[in-house]
Structures are given as structure tokens and as C-alpha cells.
Subunit: 417 residues, 2 copies
């Protein structure tokens, strides 16, 4: 797996000289990572300042990783060439395989790779990202990329994958490794989860899956895994099949398997992101008694409604409503007096008495670490404050339901450990 | 009601000279609106450049509206003074009444007002906002305020109220009128909804309530009403009682009443906002057949899962997956060929082939209006694109569940009409 994340040299087959084409963008991103690059395109002498080769065969020197972005049919021959060049790691970006009904073509791809001992990530994916050095095989642009950290991402959707990366970047959460593995013709979630459970840099694993087999649940999991699975009912299963060739599975059985292995499953993307965010920023709470402290109670009242069904959360007492006249000192006072395991702080940053003094609050929160989760709704000014909270690694939410349900799932995980 | 929204002169009782105090901030906001202002504070000669009065009695000249921000106990006397000065409209910002257990005090407030024919909004609220001229009685700062438009807001939570205002401002949705009515000691939702149903400037009404009576549901509703109600179970009801003195009501009965009168109720804040957003930007769809067009199918697969239980939406066909190589032309092509009532466009703006050409897409979408709803997940760059969609009045979402459920509730409303 190492050469997927830390290749010293990369060949991009299907490299394009036209800006906006997938083969151009991948090449550009790989060049920017600083590794040695071999663009392969029979119709070009040079692209983006790099000598271009007619085929892999023409390349001198060792190639650690090949990234393929040509038509599906052409991929088979390219794998053959990879095999003969002793390239053992390949990312096949191209779609048009099992998900398009071309089962036979995907089978040929797999067989060809197996013949030479070539490992394939994909097809029909966006490849890899290494959080440590930003190496990636993406054809995306204008992305906010996260710093290096200990959250790993496995995904069968490039779209959800980059949404996670950008979300983490904007919440000050770091990423170790990212693999978009598409149709999983070869490398699959069973192999990837084992790799990540053993990977020293990874402490939490986030997975978006459309198909996940029984074999996955036979693994040995010491690190928390959070899964968002789609393909739950007829419509979704049909869509998943057309997207990654996923086979229909029973969602109840999936959820049961998760509970057995203490794998956390999320009901939707926001909950998925919320759960990972809380664990990454604050860890797992040591107890489940929660107090709410607020200067504007509306959202907290709604949070209490969601707590009704959140059976792993214990609301310790009535909402501590400091009212709209609350200052930083009022919050600090209330927190100091409170021995709850979890403190849900709802902030109305727009309320002037708080605005006048919140810098003091931030300083104090930084020095007095507790299991804080926050709720704050608003526009640009509130967004700035939420970024400050993220810097302090205090997870902040805008929707009470997501906060409560995410926390509830974490507490359930904690109790089952 | 007019004088609540268009006062020519306003007295602020409890005005403060100290920045950050509620009485200061309200005064500042009222001054900024340009109306004639009379600060009342026995300890000051002048605040923010305005002559300050020892009491209301000392004020010469007519006062259309009084905004009161003194201790609860003192409010009674102030109402008496309002009565004697023939001020018929009062906003009581102050808390410390029914919600704090002071039922008797709130009763006295009501009686005192009734004695003089004074109408009270509040107590324990943030008052009013007029979308046409930005007049407001807020003590908030740094808010993104919306333009004038046809969405009205009624709320028993100042916090949720300003979250709506800021959300609308950032989504290019205009507001006609806003009333935060707190404990509703006098003016309540029955009177307010009638006023808004008759108000020419208002076409959609958004309500956050903690308590809502049977009388409300006897009203005659021609305009769509969307309600977010908290206080659904024991925990929430307790919290609502301590927040606005709300009485416990059965949530199932509330939902039943909504269905009978075809009032839309939202399950959470995001759905609440999503429903209003769609109606405000696109109106009500003329049919329920929906097609999905995307360049990155993950979120659409999850959307299909949520469509399984969204019984008012009919998925017309398989997801139209243009893949990551899609350009603006591919989207335009796909839309032109498609006669669905509703077009769910999922955009992966980060995919370079789309990035290269999306200006062309925006131009075309503007000239070819259909019932578009969009899904786009990402960071700062995607946020910019979502703002462009908002300018085109195309509602955009980040969570498939919220999009689908909001749309489903709108279709249910449409079918019941």
C-alpha cells in the first residue's frame, strides 16, 4: 500500500494537454506534489513542461505508481504494460466498468492485474490523497485541503470524499490518508481497513460505502470506525448499483453487524461528519451526563426534544439559561460550577453583551479543557466565531438534531467498548 | 400593528450609555433606523447624542412605540406611564416573567396594558424587524440583514429568529416582517397570523413556536405557513416552559392539526429553513416527477435512499450520471432533454471539467427557468458557487436528507391544497 501514498515516481496514462480535461488535472496535481512524473499520451511530446511518452513501454526508469485515465476498454492493455514494466500499484480513475454493466470488462481488468501481481485501486474512482505531503491523484481544483492529522477516509464516492476533505480542512481536522476506491475490482474495504487499523498515523476511520461485505465485519477493530452507507432501500440500491456496481444488501443486517462489532453507522452525511468531528476534536466523553449552558435558549429547547430519544445521553439538569444579557464572565462562572461530563454550550454570538467579551471566553476555554460541544447559528460573523472554536478544537454545530444524534452514537459506541 | 413596524417615534426605556448593555444596543439600532428617538434613563442626560429623559412622563411629543428593557418588576410602572402618555404599542424585551415562574407579575403586566388599551409584544423577546426599512428593536450586532421580500417570521425564540434572518440574508431571500413575541402575554400567534395573512407584503409565513393553541388552527389560511415547534416530549416541554412559559402540548395532536389545516410542520431547523427556502426561491412545483442530474453520484445515491420514504416525490428514472468529466454543455443537454417537473441538480463544482465551463451553465440556467433544486458539498469555492445559485434563486443544499424531506413536505402541502 505504501507506494499508493508515497510513490517516488508516477506515470499518468491518458495525460492531456487540455486544461479542464481529467488527464490534464491529474497530471497537474501530481506534478505539484513534487514526485517524478511521466505523462503518457501518444499524441503529445510534452505536457505542462514534462516530457510526454507515447506509451509506458517507452519510459526509462522505475515507476512506483501508475494513474490511468483512458477509456475503459483501453485500460486492459495499459495494465498489461504496467505488469511488464513491473509497476505494482495502479489507480484506475476511468469509469465504464461494472457500474455501466460491463462486468466482463471489469473481470478482465482484475485478471490482467492478478496475472502480474499488480494491485488496483478503482476503477471508477478519484484515487488517493496523502495528508502528510498532500500527494494526490485528483482531477479536482479549488479544494481546501486539510492538514496532516489522524483521521483516515475510505470512500466509494469521490464527491463525498472531497466533501469530507474540505469539511475537515475548514474545521481544523487533520487527515492521514484518503482512498477513493470506486468499484473495488481489486483493493477493497477489507484490505483497506486492515491497513488503516495497523497504520500508526491513523486513529479514526471514516468510510462512505455503497457495498460492504460480511468479510469486513470479521476484522479486528481497535480504532473507531464511522460508516455512512447508502443503498438502503430499492431506490438507493438501484442508484448504488449504477454508481459503483454495488450489490443490494439489507440495511437492517448491516446495522446489526455494525452494532455487533461496535462500528458506528451514521444516518446521513451531516451526522457522519458530526460524529467524526466530535471524536477528532474532543475524543470520547468519559461519562454521559450533559448540561446545557446558553445565552439564547431556543435551539437548546429543540436539543432537549432530540435528547428525548437519545437514550445514551443523560440530561443532568434544566437548561442553564444565562439570557441575552450574558457576558463571558457569566459563561465562565456557569461552567466552573458545573461538573457535567459533557457541556453543551449554545452561543448567540450576535447578542452584544457576549460580543463585547468573547475574546476572554475563548482564552478561558483554551486553558480550561472540558468536553465542550457548541451550537451557534448565524451568518458571516458567527462563521468567524465558529472558526475560532474549531481552532480551540471545540466542535460546533448549527443543527441541534445533528449535534444530539452524533453525540448519542458516540456514547453508544463508548458504552459498548 | 402598523406602529410596531413603522413608528415615527420610539421611546427606549432602560436605555444605557454602556456599550454591550442591552439598553445601549437597542437604542443604537433604533437610532440607526432614522426614526425620532427618546432614550429614557433617570441617570443620564444624553446617550449616543440623543437627549435622555428621566421618565416617559418628561417626554414632549407623541410616541408611537415604546421599547422596554428594564427589570421585570419595573415594567409594570412603565406600562402605566405608557398608558397615560397614550402610547398604544409596546415591546417588552425584559425577561423574568412567566418563564421564570412569575405568573403573577405577567398577569399584572397584561392587566395594566389592558386597562389603557396598550398592546404588548413580549415580554421576554427581541421585538420586531421591518424588512422594508430595516427598523428593528434588536440588541444584536454584526448581523447579516436580509433585503425586503415576502417571507414573514414569527418566533418565540430570538435566537432562532435571528438565525432565520441571517440565513435568508445569505441566501438572497427577502423578509417582509419579523416578530419575536416571547411569552406572548398579549399579542399572540393568533393575532399575528391573521395580520400576516392579510398583509399584502407577505406571501409565506415562517413560525418557530413553543406553545400554540387550538385557536390558531381555527384561522383561515390562504398563504403557506411553515412551523417549527419544540416542546415535543417531556424534556423539551420542560425546557420550553422555562424558556417562554409554554404549556405542554401533545406533539401528535399538533401535527394532526397541521395536516388538517394544511400547515407545514418541520422536523428540525434545517428542514424548516429548507422548506421556506424552496418555496421562497422557486415556489411550489407543478408536479412531483423528479429527475436527478449529476456529475458525481454519491450524494444522489443517498438522496435516493431518502426518497424511498418520501412518498410525495416520484423519482422519474435512474440518476442521470454525467460523470466527473461533465461540462456545462453536458448539463444543459441533459436538462433540455428532460421533462421532469423537478430537476435535482447535484454539482461537484470542484471537478475541473465543470469548473472550466460553469459560467456558461449559470447563464443558461438563468434564461431557462425550471423547478431546479441543487446539491453541492464543499469548502470556500463551493460556497461561492452556492451564492451564485442563490442569486439565480436556485435553492442549494448540502445534505441530501434535508433536501428530500423539505421537498416532500412541500409536495404534500401542494397535494392537500
Amino acid at each position: 500500500m505504501e507506494k499508493f501514498f508515497n510513490p517516488r515516481s508516477v506515470a499518468v496514462i491518458g495525460a492531456s494537454s487540455k486544461k479542464g480535461k481529467i488527464g490534464y488535472e491529474i497530471l497537474k496535481n501530481v506534478i505539484e506534489s513534487g514526485v517524478k512524473v511521466y505523462p503518457v499520451n501518444p499524441n503529445r511530446e510534452e505536457i505542462l513542461g514534462k516530457k510526454c511518452y507515447k506509451s509506458l513501454i517507452d519510459v526509462d526508469g522505475e515507476i512506483d505508481l501508475a494513474v490511468i485515465a483512458v477509456e475503459a476498454k483501453e485500460c486492459i492493455e495499459v495494465i498489461e504494460e504496467c505488469g511488464r514494466k513491473n509497476i505494482k500499484n495502479v489507480v484506475v480513475i476511468s469509469g465504464g466498468f461494472k457500474e455501466s454493466g460491463n462486468f466482463f470488462l471489469e473481470e478482465k481488468l482484475r485478471e490482467k492485474a492478478k496475472k502480474y501481481g499488480v494491485r488496483i485501486i478503482g476503477p471508477n474512482c478519484i484515487g488517493v490523497f496523502n495528508g502528510k505531503n498532500n500527494f494526490n491523484t485528483f482531477f479536482q481544483r479549488n479544494m481546501d485541503l486539510p492538514d496532516f492529522g489522524n483521521v483516515a477516509i475510505l470512500t466509494q464516492s469521490g464527491t463525498f470524499g472531497i466533501a469530507l476533505l474540505e469539511g475537515f480542512a475548514n474545521e481544523n481536522i487533520g487527515v492521514s490518508k484518503f482512498v477513493s476506491y470506486g468499484n473495488k475490482a481489486d483493493v477493497d474495504e477489507v484490505e483497506l481497513i486492515k491497513y488503516l487499523q495497523d497504520d500508526m498515523e491513523t486513529k479514526i476511520i471514516a468510510m462512505y460505502v455503497e457495498e460492504i461485505g460480511r468479510k469486513f465485519f470479521e476484522g479486528n477493530f481497535t480504532k473507531p470506525i464511522v460508516i455512512l452507507k447508502s443503498g438502503r432501500g430499492k431506490l438507493g440500491q438501484r442508484a448504488a448499483q449504477l454508481h459503483t456496481g454495488a450489490m443490494a444488501t439489507n440495511y437492517e443486517i448491516f446495522k446489526g453487524a455494525c452494532k455487533q462489532k461496535n462500528v458506528i453507522f451514521a444516518d446521513d452525511f451531516e451526522e457522519f461528519f458530526g460524529i467524526i468531528k466530535i471524536i477528532a476534536m474532543r475524543g470520547i466523553p468519559k461519562g454521559n451526563k450533559l448540561s446545557v449552558i446558553t445565552n439564547g435558549a431556543g435551539p437548546s429547547v429543540l436539543a432537549c426534544d432530540f435528547m428525548e430519544d437519545a437514550k445514551y445521553i443523560e440530561l443532568k439538569e434544566d437548561i442553564i439559561d444565562l439570557t441575552g444579557s450574558a457576558t463571558a464572565a457569566d459563561y465562565i462562572n456557569a461552567i466552573e460550577k458545573n461538573d457535567a461530563d459533557i457541556l453543551l454550550l449554545t452561543f448567540v454570538f450576535q447578542d452584544a453583551p457576549l460580543t463585547e467579551s468573547f475574546e476572554k471566553l475563548y482564552e478561558w476555554l483554551e486553558k480550561n479543557s472540558r468536553f465542550y460541544i457548541s451550537l451557534a447559528l448565524g451568518g458571516k460573523f458567527v462563521e468567524e466565531q465558529r472558526k475560532k472554536l474549531a481552532k480551540l478544537k471545540i466542535p460546533s454545530f448549527e443543527e441541534p438534531r445533528v449535534l444530539i444524534n452524533s453525540l448519542n452514537k458516540i456514547l453508544e459506541y463508548s458504552m459498548r467498548k
